[in-house]
């Protein structure tokens, strides 16, 4: 028998960036909001002081802040003809598992996607024609444009305290910024982070090739800052403990630092921690949700009734929750019909490992998003005629803090992996080795999808999410192109040894940690036949269910997803407050 909690106006499943931003908007609008988070309470200053945070073995090697596969794994196979098996060990799918979600341990690269990334179907057709698309590729517009999202990107940047330099202010190009970005109304709230020896070498090398390098927008504060919610942030100290770590300095933009302190002052917000939502409950007619069911520490099931249900868990978890709740038609790969689990994609990463002769890069100093990048080969910023693919990558170097255990195999080819020769080579490489890499676009394909696994279960006996994925021909062609461009930059940087790398050269494996940006499966769009959500991330089928996260993206851009996730959440929250609350129902006619 389920226990039943008092009804909330809105229940939020997963308190990461999406959940906390949604809760902030809805509770400020007066709604009674209950968030349910699977992990524990985490708070910036208490849980991540320097005496706890600076621990590579705990946070990076042992992944102590991520959701353990024991709690919920995915199963994986490259093609539908294989038997999917559980991803038993830590993999590149890095689910958050605490209040703050993946936003607590992220690196902090805070990108806006380009206008092209939101309208790849329309823009590709107009510029190149349909023949530019390889067989089976799924390319569709999002239903929301860059111009729609611009004010919400701006809001996210101000909440998270982003450091950067505008490249395009209202159509006017600004020296030092990214000339390819969509037009912005405002500059970043903080100037860029300090540069490093590595970013200087990259900048010089890239410029010698006629490219246009710029500092990556970073969720590390280049100075003291107070965000619009009144939360004070301290200047980043460049300790380099960002990716996989918390930040006890109040210097990394995270839900814990930037949003939750404000939320906790409000009477109409509460969070239930260490509780796992297993489904949304539907009304008898299946047209609305009545709330969610969750399980507490003792295995006791509870119902949290609510007028609005927001799924804001990690990408694959959002898709799984929809399937477990029977919301939307599941994708049938054989028939190529259905939408939930369809349009899944990932990210290509290719470039080069490079080793200098005698540098002092001092890469232990840095910040998660302290980087220089060129966007000359990203999105549709260059002419793809005759190239046989769409998309590309941002090509960058990162000064995010080298750590001793994680770097051990980062060595020039032919170096022994142990013994005195390894010690000597590793000591040299620790100062002289680094990477130039392209973080690429990825487009979905009809043969890549998510569904419920027929064999493997979680602790509650519910089926795990099954992933069927390999890189498609468009991915491979763009990754090859980017690999070549990265090698050119690496050589222009004066590296002694340049070793090309390409995650899309062979079969995809979840144990390649080049990227963790897993995308799609419950995508937004213009047509209910090819999307799960309308342009407001509202379920086409159950109108009081909204889904927020990278699961909504029909394609991946050559960037990190977080700022776009944040902007989309704020866009959706505005639609709920300004439209849905006044007239509950579908916000777009299907």
């Amino acid at each position: 028998m389920n226990k039943i909690r008092p009804k909330a106006d809105a229940v939020i499943v997963g308190l990461g960036w999406c959940g906390s931003l949604m809760a902030e908007e809805l509770s400020r609008a007066g709604l009674n909001v209950v968030a349910i988070e699977r992990g524990a309470w985490r708070e910036a200053a208490t849980d991540f002081p320097p005496s706890v945070d600076t621990d590579e073995l705990r946070w990076d090697t042992r992944r102590s802040m991520l959701m353990p596969p024991a709690v919920e794994a995915l199963t994986f196979r490259n093609t539908s003809s294989e038997r999917a098996l559980p991803i038993r060990d830590w993999s590149c799918f890095e689910f958050g598992y605490n209040v703050g979600g993946a936003g607590t341990h992220w690196a902090g690269m805070a990108w806006r996607f380009t206008p092209f990334d939101f309208q790849p179907a329309t823009m590709t057709k107009a510029r190149y024609g349909q023949q530019q698309l390889v067989d089976g590729l799924i390319v569709q517009d999002w239903g929301v444009t860059y111009a729609d999202l611009e004010p919400y990107y701006d809001r996210f940047e101000k909440i998270a305290g982003i450091s950067g330099i505008a490249g395009n202010l209202d159509g006017k190009l600004v020296e030092g910024g990214n000339p390819y970005e969509g037009p912005r109304k405002n500059d970043y709230p903080l100037p860029p982070l300090k540069t490093t020896r590595l970013t200087d070498i990259f900048e010089k090398g890239a410029k010698s090739l006629g490219l246009k390098p710029f500092m990556v927008p970073a969720a590390q504060t280049s100075g003291a800052y107070t965000n619009p919610l009144g939360v004070k942030m301290g200047p980043c100290t460049y300790c380099g403990y960002c990716l996989y770590y918390g930040c006890g300095n109040w210097s990394k933009g995270s839900p814990n630092a930037c949003v939750i302190p404000a939320l906790m002052t409000r009477d109409n917000f509460s969070v239930i921690t260490n509780a796992t939502v297993i489904k949304a409950n539907l009304a008898d007619d299946g047209k609305t949700a009545t709330g969610v069911t969750y399980v507490d520490k003792d295995g006791q099931q509870w119902e949290q009734p609510a007028g609005i249900v927001v799924f804001s868990a990690f990408q694959a978890q959002n898709v799984r929750l929809l399937l477990l709740s029977k919301i939307g038609q599941p994708y049938d790969h054989a028939k190529k019909e259905g939408v939930v689990g369809r349009a899944y994609c990932f990210q290509t990463v290719s470039g080069a490992s490079i080793f200098f002769e005698d540098e002092q890069l001092n890469q232990y100093m840095g910040a998660g998003a302290l980087s220089q990048q060129v966007d000359d080969y990203n999105g549709d910023n260059f002419d793809h005629k005759g190239l046989g693919f769409i998309g590309g990558a941002g090509i960058l170097v990162v000064s995010r803090g080298s750590r001793p255990i994680g770097n051990t195999d980062f060595l020039p080819p032919g170096t022994p992996r142990w013994g005195s020769d390894w010690k000597k080579a590793y000591t040299h490489a620790f100062q002289n080795g680094t990477v130039v890499f392209g973080q690429g676009t990825s487009y979905a394909h009809q043969d890549a999808y998510l569904d419920l696994d027929p064999t493997y279960k979680d602790q509650y006996g519910l089926p795990l999410m099954r992933m069927t994925f390999d890189f498609n021909e468009n991915d491979r062609r763009s990754a090859n192109f980017i690999e070549q461009r990265s090698v050119e930059i690496a050589k222009a940087m004066g590296a002694k040894t340049v070793v090309p790398t390409n995650s899309a050269r062979g079969k995809f494996t979840p144990y390649d940690f080049a990227s963790d940006h897993t995308i799609g499966g419950a995508v937004m769009g213009e047509d209910p036949k090819t999307s799960v959500l309308n342009r407001y991330q509202q379920s086409w089928d159950v109108h009081n269910v909204f889904v927020s996260g990278a699961s909504s993206f029909p394609n991946n851009a050559g960037y990190n997803p977080t700022a776009t996730i944040g902007a989309l959440t704020l866009w959706t929250a505005r639609a709920i407050i300004e439209q849905y609350l006044k007239q509950p129902g579908p916000l777009v006619k299907s």
Binding site: V52, A70, D89, T273, K423, T427
Partner: protein
């Protein structure tokens, strides 16, 4: 069933529903400080296993002009404590069946925990050295030890049911962890590896050094807890 029980225990330990509202749920002094590895004798390894691991650690990370060797750096104590703890018990990993051999892309489908793999693997290695040389690994000369390690690394050593390459990779990873992690965990004695690399350790503020680009910086490294066992 064993695997199911393990998974259930592991998750219930981190599942405690709490309702938090209107206040920050912390008290002064309640920060989650790390627990240094216990100072004591071996907690998991047998004395014979510890001797073999010490010998392996000294071949993987030999004493030379750059640092002390892996054994003196505490790699055996480090591994012992790790195997006795949540890592050795594979608390975090998905361990429910059925188990099938997968493709390379699907990754390891191991039924055994790291602690069990060490026990089985070191027993197989002991069987091999006794049969071939009449001695345990730690009693062999360095050249013979290296030959065996190379054979394991290149997957050419027959260790019966034990995958010699996988065992080598496990031990190499853990020895490196012991050498390179914070001394808090029982290894990296005197921060030997950090001094070798020029890694400043648990330092948290480089604002004064960011502008010294391309310069050789000499930091006395800092550890979270000085815990040489």
């Amino acid at each position: 069933m064993v695997a199911l029980a393990a998974a259930t225990v592991s998750t219930s330990a981190v599942t405690q529903a709490e309702v938090i509202s209107k206040e920050l749920p912390w008290e002064p002094g309640a920060a989650n400080a790390p627990q240094p590895a216990r100072k004591s004798g071996l907690l998991y390894l047998t004395p014979a296993e510890a001797l073999v691991l010490g010998a392996i650690a000294d071949r993987l990370i030999p004493a030379d002009e750059l640092s002390i060797g892996g054994k003196d750096a505490g790699c055996v104590e480090f591994i012992d404590r790790q195997l006795d703890g949540s890592y050795g018990k594979a608390i975090s990993l998905y361990r429910l069946g059925p188990f099938y051999q997968g493709t390379d892309a699907q990754g390891p489908q191991l039924q055994h925990t790291p602690a069990e793999r060490y026990r089985l693997g070191l027993a197989a290695l002991a069987g091999y050295t006794h049969k071939q040389h009449g001695k345990p690994f730690d009693a062999l000369d360095a050249a013979t030890q290296d030959k065996i390690l190379v054979a394991m690394e290149t997957n050419t050593l027959a260790l019966g049911p034990v995958d010699g390459k996988a065992l080598f990779e496990l031990v190499l990873q853990n020895v490196r962890e012991g050498f390179l992690s914070d001394p808090l965990y029982g290894g990296n004695k005197g921060m030997a590896s950090w001094k070798m690399l020029g890694f400043p350790g648990a330092r948290y503020d480089f604002r004064d050094h960011m502008d010294k680009k391309g310069q050789k910086l000499v930091f006395m490294p800092t550890s979270m807890v000085d815990n040489s066992l």
